[in-house]
Symmetry: C2
Amino acid sequence: MSGSPALPAEVRVVNIGLPLFADAVRDQGTPVAQVDWRIPAGGDLIVVAALARLYGPAAEQVDAANAEVLRRLDSGVPLLREVAPAGDVVPDLAGRTLLHCGPAIDWPDVCDPLRRSMRAATVAEGWAADVEAADGLLAHGEVRLAPANPHATVVPMASAIGPSAPVYVVANAEGATTAFAPLSQGPGEVAWFGRETPAAIERLRFLRDVAGPTLAEVLRRTGPLDVFALAAQGVQMGDDLHMRTQATTNLLIRNLLPHLVDAGPAPVEMARYLSGNHLFFLTIAMAGAKALTLWAEQVPGSSIVTTMSRNGTEFGIRLAGHDRWFLAGAPPVRDALYYPGFGPETAAPDIGDSAVLELTGLGGPAAAGSPAVAAFLGGTMADARAATETLVEICGAESSRFTLPAMDFRGTPVGVDARKVVELGITPKINTGILHASAGTGQVGAGVATAPVECFVEAVLDLDERLR
Amino acid sequence: MSGSPALPAEVRVVNIGLPLFADAVRDQGTPVAQVDWRIPAGGDLIVVAALARLYGPAAEQVDAANAEVLRRLDSGVPLLREVAPAGDVVPDLAGRTLLHCGPAIDWPDVCDPLRRSMRAATVAEGWAADVEAADGLLAHGEVRLAPANPHATVVPMASAIGPSAPVYVVANAEGATTAFAPLSQGPGEVAWFGRETPAAIERLRFLRDVAGPTLAEVLRRTGPLDVFALAAQGVQMGDDLHMRTQATTNLLIRNLLPHLVDAGPAPVEMARYLSGNHLFFLTIAMAGAKALTLWAEQVPGSSIVTTMSRNGTEFGIRLAGHDRWFLAGAPPVRDALYYPGFGPETAAPDIGDSAVLELTGLGGPAAAGSPAVAAFLGGTMADARAATETLVEICGAESSRFTLPAMDFRGTPVGVDARKVVELGITPKINTGILHASAGTGQVGAGVATAPVECFVEAVLDLDERLR
């Protein structure tokens, strides 16, 4: 061979794409540089053509829009200003209406845990004497169902809230946007986990009569709280702010302590509620994230996702600058840890509005900093880092405020770019709880849901259409 | 050269010791394997001979003793059982006595910040009307000075406590040892930072009249608290439990919340004290560590350090199984960050009993998990990991309860082995605060103190002597 003029004495191989070929060459003792490349968008020619335009002729326009969206998501300062009944502050919430998680849905399509939660809220509002009567009202359309997101509100898991439910009012002054989220119902026998027992209904009344008024009074005394400044400290202390909010919850409680002692009608009950509720900060963080996506979504022509939400039946997203929802079936929750006696066969699909966190650098993007989240991703911190690094590939920026000690203080990935999602076939991962699919027994575990790619494909095709 | 039978065609070099030689060979283009080796004990022949015996004929005996010491340090379960006035619970504390940090010391040798703290305590005890009168009593020996450690007590920074000061009572049931530490005085104008202002004295009275009785009542309601179980959670959340106890403090406060609201004479004052005191858990952790070193120190013939303590003038250690202190001058605090307007020239030497934490896997050994501590060690998490890895070299075991996410959940190094310290010339690093040397203005910064090697050398020579 060394005498042949056509072939060099030494062969070096670069293989692009399927590693199969590289392995074959390597097996023969020749070094191979493997380039990880896959056919974009799974090779769908219509989608590839759309991407070619969005990365080509339309790139300048999209990139400029995205830069402004990312600036808003990263730099907005959401301030928790007050706590008030939803009916007093949430826009266009009147009469017998329940705000629910996820995209719009009709009663016949509502999943079991969310139905239970809706019945519990209907009773707590005083519209029905018991859950049987509530079911009748809901089935006959005598309680209006409205998705929370278009009301500038986000609700976690299988939440449904009526006008009397207290909500956080979180304002982003620079963007003049205000978002709302309900108080955490805590662990155990609670409606947001799909329970409708007397205790679950009583918890809704406690929030209305004790926790809401107490926090309202505390905030009157403290003045506004910087939600993401607290969250940024929490990220340094192992919170992803979605599956785990322990550190941030505790920081907030110590901050508020002098006022919690004597504000409100029942300090000891209030203290018990906070003491047993390590996810207390979750909905505050959600309202903070929503205040920023509301600002970001005002920018037209962007490929950045500004709504991502599930109702247990459907998974929906919206892009900045566009009202249309793109839907797919709600995915199962994988990489899950179950409570003893439960498993995948008992699990409802992914549900709730909390994925708004994943759009702003929290939740999945902050996995690398969280030993607790690592437990769901394989157990090692390397697994958690890999989860964050995957999201880097589909996000447009790195957070300037949420930094990861485990990655040399690199910022968490912010702003999911639908173009990249579709190109790479990588969708956001969402750290979340799992509810029982049918038995009304509440949470059965927690894990990671992977957003379905179909709705991102539709959103990209639609964006291409709009920009042509 | 290639024709010479005496020399091979290729030369490979292994260099042991000084890298100078390796560098010279490397400069000539020849690869060198560098072995990091230094003359043990700096080449002092008497010390080398002692080490040769302790690692040789006496090794089996020392290793067996060490194994038991390490088992006790790692497996003991310190439980916080009550809070009570020191005079009621600390052994042999009677009359006009102040317990102070570090080795025994006479008034003329006491450093400025500790003198101020002693005067403040003397006034708070009611023995003198003001700090001038207190100075007279102290100078004339009318207040007895006793080191806290021999009274099973550890006190942080420039602390001096009288019989009325409330202390934590932390018991290690398996070892039947009980240790004590005072309540945290908090930040600002406080005696443990070397201040003797009316506010600093008032803070001591507040601890006696409000914080002590409140925590005593809270503990009566909750029952005993597992100190190191809380600390282990804190380590997962970025606490080293010495320089930073934020996460553990917050966990404890949330645990105690339902009782803090209505226990004690002044809940709002108590809440303000806790809310502004992120180092609140420090002395609880210290008492926990002391409860275990008290158990470990009952094992004879060991080379593991079970006391390490400073009074701002002298640095002292003791080995398990032996009452004798080995002393050296108190070291300066280096790798320091200073408050604006202060620098090394204003800094008092290292002071306090808190280094007991470094003997049980907390403080410096936990640096790798703490972004806050990393800020003092160069700023990157790699710097913090390097600090922990250095301590691995001189410690006898790895903690089974304090694990570091940043090091793949490896345990923190536990149990400083004086043999290794002397052999390698590596002494423990102590994460600590810095006080003003003379002005009585309190804390001026924080940093890392390096224990002086001389006292470890003396301890090793003495151990060799005792075992011959």
